[in-house]
């Protein structure tokens, strides 16, 4: 095997407005081969795969599957040709069952009835063969993230795909779940399936792929067989320079500014709440919160940000127990909150920069008085942020939806940092930003630490956590690990904690 070419992309180019997302990208995948598509966030990987899968139409270039050209912009044709895709954000309907999700669209729309018994048997057979255990009658909404991914993969296998695209499949998995996924994938390639594995995690790419192609700024910048390369060479290709972790001076921690004492919150659906969490954020220190997505980070961010109050336990702020706890209380107590989703929660898209700049502090001097807004001062504030934080925009009256993600994030940074916060809650602050913006945001966090702020950095990117944090806690299923000082644990050891190992079973947290 390995000689038949399953897939070929010919000079794919795609532009969004002025941005060239893909620039004449060409590569091929052989049958039974795993090709990793490597690149930073925003390098154009997802766009390329959406073109391959017919969800976008390329401006130029063609896609061939087993020598047959695919009609552009037609997902149906891609599916019929045997291309399947597991999206980073799963395309599953929560209120439907596993079986319903798998069989959706698999039979002709107007056939008189669903062949439910047949489907059931087939799903059972596939689960067995590829070690993908799922219960066909479970509601998808009740499944864990790992289980949902299994449903997505089954969905593809159910359709007899010959080429499977996996978009960042490990972002939501623990290291151990990742190993299980890799076992499944090896089983699949042994059966002649070709796989495109999209990732920016180098060690995983080395572990699973036969070959790597690297995308940077929409261009194909290189490729190699994994046996002929190493992670450092790949990183150099991906970033365009030798990767240099930020040079972080040792911290000088001071008093605890914000403490959680034995805090618990209820689970919300499949999202775990906090389980007796105690944590102290100290002046002049960055605490990193590592963990697989969906393990209680949201609950932690909500509690610290004032959106949720503890069901049990207390929040202690500057030595005093907090009574009333709303987002406004949090802001007024000097907590700077950088939200996880800057588009949905951080900003109001149709508001201009001025209106977004005062969003947390419009109530009260200097931005309003007696219920009347002072637009002059508000605008001045926005213009100061634009200047100091180098927000690239036509002006303070531009709707913020017209700004790039990086500039949007700079406005949010300015909004919260200009208030001279004591505590900074940074939830995924660099997700989706380009390298320049990433460095800028990290620099600002380090600078705030230097000024004596207590920082909590929540991230799913272990590299980011390890580079910036003075102390690392791992969160798994809402439980918090003890704090590990910089360099105390290797990534592999932290991975075990992320998988839920090491937590004391009886006392659900360690301090």
């Amino acid at each position: 095997m390995g000689k038949v070419e399953a897939l070929r992309l010919n000079a794919i180019t795609k532009r969004f407005g002025g941005l060239t997302a893909n620039d004449a990208v060409s590569f091929g995948v052989d049958q039974g081969e795993v090709v990793a598509l490597l690149g930073e966030n925003g390098a154009g990987k997802t766009t390329l795969m959406n073109i391959l899968f017919g969800q976008y139409t390329a401006d130029s270039g063609t896609v061939e599957v087993f020598g047959q050209a695919l009609p552009p912009g037609n997902s149906r044709a891609a599916l019929d040709a045997g291309v399947g895709m597991v999206h980073q954000h799963f395309t599953l309907a929560d209120n439907l069952t596993v079986q319903e999700n798998i069989t959706l669209g698999a039979e002709p729309l107007f056939s008189p009835r669903l062949n439910r018994a047949g489907a059931r048997a087939r799903i059972a057979a596939l689960s067995e063969k590829f070690h993908l255990a799922v219960s066909p009658d479970a509601r998808v909404g009740n499944l864990s993230v790992g289980e949902r991914q299994r449903v997505e993969i089954l969905k593809a296998l159910y359709r007899d795909v010959r080429i499977l695209i996996l978009d960042e499949p490990t972002a939501v998995l623990t290291p151990q779940e990742t190993d299980a996924l890799f076992a499944t994938l090896r089983q699949a390639t042994a059966n002649g399936l070709s796989i495109i594995f999209i990732s920016h995690k180098l060690h995983e790419v080395m572990a699973i792929a036969d070959r790597v192609v690297v995308l940077r700024h929409g261009k194909l910048v290189g490729g190699a067989r994994t046996e002929d390369t190493d992670t450092q060479a790949l990183a150099a290709m991906m970033m365009g320079l030798e990767a240099t972790p930020p040079n972080v001076a040792p911290a000088n921690p001071g008093a605890a500014l914000l403490e959680l004492e034995d805090v618990s919150t209820p689970d919300i659906g499949s999202a775990p709440g906090l389980k007796s969490v105690s944590l102290a954020l100290r002046a002049g220190q960055i605490i990193g919160l590592a963990g697989v997505s969906g393990n209680g980070q949201a609950a932690m961010a909500d509690v610290l940000g004032g959106l949720r109050s503890p069901a049990t336990g207390r929040i202690v702020l500057g030595g005093e127990v907090v009574q009333r706890w709303t987002p406004r209380d949090a802001v007024q107590s000097g907590i700077a909150r950088i939200p996880e989703d800057r588009h949905k929660t951080g900003t109001i898209a149709d508001f201009d920069l001025t209106e977004n700049a005062i969003l947390e502090r419009y109530k009260g001097v200097p931005f309003s008085k007696g219920g009347w807004l002072n637009w002059r001062k508000s605008r001045g504030f926005a213009e100061e942020i634009i200047r100091k934080y180098d927000v690239r925009c036509p002006g303070a009256d531009t709707p913020i939806r017209l700004l790039s993600g990086g500039n949007m994030q700079k406005l949010i940074l300015g909004r919260v940092l200009e208030a001279d916060p004591q505590v900074i809650l940074a939830n995924q602050p660099v997700r989706g930003l380009d390298l320049g913006a990433v460095n800028y945001v990290h620099g600002q966090l380090l600078e705030a630490r230097g000024h004596g702020a207590a920082v909590l950095l929540i991230s799913e990117d272990l590299d980011e956590i390890m580079a910036l944090s003075d102390v690392i806690h791992v969160i798994a299923e809402g439980r918090l690990s003890p704090g590990f000082v910089r360099g105390e644990k290797t990534p592999a050891e932290l991975g075990l904690w992320m998988a839920g190992q090491g937590f004391d079973a009886r006392i659900p947290h360690a301090s």
């Binding site: 407005g17 976008y56 139409t57 912009g73 940000g305 004032g306 959106l307 709303t326 987002p327 406004r328 949090a330 802001v331 909150r337 939200p339 949905k344 929660t345 951080g346 900003t347 109001i348 898209a349 149709d350 508001f351 209106e355 969003l359 947390e360 419009y362 109530k363 309003s368 219920g371 009347w372 807004l373 637009w375 939806r401 017209l402």
Partner: protein, 349 residues
């Protein structure tokens, strides 16, 4: 096909779609007039003449616009915060009811004290009526569209019950009609001899106030933030539910003023046909005004003009007056489409 936002819309893109929408509305009205066997040009001419062709017609249009400004403002305020108040009709009657209750002898005050008192109590009544759906929404998550719609039916039956019971005017010879207001409780005319009452001035003043509130006050800012992105507003610390309730109170109060103004300014008593659907028409007014309070005044004049013009046209030509409603419904649907097309481009793929 799919939609792509336009970054910097050209002037043509901003102006053309709404213009085409209006042209289409006129075209459809003409076709319908032809179906009715009339000459479309004369029908349109009669509508315009009937609405704006004489001093009498103008005054009639202004009078008809007055309640529409109030209900239009009520809807514009609510929709701005994405609170779907479809119950302006009921709130209008709540205001009218208070006007009749207080203005037929209950408060023996002079005009200058009585009228503000009645207006104030009317506002409270309208606000209170909308408070119920608002609380059902914020407490239980019950969709306010359906509850406010259903409240219209309930409240009109309630009014009907009162008009056939305790509020019935003994002199009305069996008609369900309230007693007439005392002269002190009537809104005087702005200019003696011209059939236009102070309710119109109050409507314009309200529009100005709402405009100032929306653009200058923290409440207006909060209402816009909640309407545009509830999640971000809540994250930033805006008390979303409280803002929705304040919005509802303001909206209900404005709609109630329409009832106050109609009874105290025009009709002098309460009957079941006080409003020919002003509450519902307020939605059209607000949408045509793009929810802008000052635009509401213009849109109300336009809508009132079509109604008044169509009434007079219907008497002259043999075309049913429902033509006006069709024109407005068409204008509404085409306008929301047109506004969208000023901001998005349709891309084929």
């Amino acid at each position: 096909m799919r939609l792509e936002p336009v970054q910097n819309p050209s002037l043509a893109r901003k102006v053309l779609p709404p213009a085409i929408a209006l042209a289409f509305t006129v075209l459809i009205a003409s076709l319908l007039a032809m179906i009715a066997g009339a000459n479309p040009f004369s029908v349109l001419g009669l509508i315009i003449k009937g609405a704006f062709g004489s001093k009498f017609a103008m005054l009639e249009t202004l009078n008809r616009a007055t309640p529409l400004i109030f209900t239009g403002l009520a809807v514009a305020v609510a929709f701005r915060a994405r609170f779907w108040n479809i119950g302006a009709e009921a709130q209008l009657y709540a205001g009218a009811l208070m006007t009749v209750l207080l203005g037929t002898g209950f408060l023996p005050w002079p005009s200058l004290a009585l009228l503000p008192a009645i207006a104030f109590i009317s506002i409270l009544a309208g606000a209170a009526l909308l408070l119920i759906p608002a609380l059902l929404k914020t407490r239980f998550g019950v969709d306010e569209v359906v509850t406010t719609l259903l409240f219209n039916f309930i409240f009109l039956l309630f009014i009907s019950m009162l008009l056939e019971g305790p509020l019935k005017d003994p002199m009305s010879m069996g008609w369900p009609k309230s007693a007439r207001l005392l002269p002190e409780a009537r809104l005087p005319r702005i200019v003696e001899g011209l059939r236009l009452h102070w309710g119109f001035a109050l409507a314009i003043l309200s529009a100005l106030c709402i405009w100032i509130i929306q653009t200058r006050s923290t409440l207006g800012y909060e209402m816009r933030a909640v309407g545009l992105n509830k999640e971000a507003a809540a994250f930033a610390g805006i008390p979303v539910n409280l803002v929705l309730i304040k919005t509802a109170l303001l909206s209900g109060g404005l709609a109630a003023l329409a009832g106050f103004s109609e009874v105290a300014g025009l009709k002098g008593s309460l009957t079941l046909d006080l409003s020919p659907g002003f509450g519902y028409t307020g939605i059209i007014v607000a949408m045509l005004a793009l929810l802008n309070p000052l635009g509401v005044v213009l849109a109300a004049l336009f809508v009132a003009g079509i109604f008044v013009g169509a009434d007079s046209m219907s008497r002259a030509a043999d075309v049913p007056t429902y033509l006006a409603d069709i024109m407005l419904a068409t204008a509404l649907l085409l306008m929301v489409l047109a506004i969208m097309l000023t901001r998005f481009r349709v891309v084929r793929d």
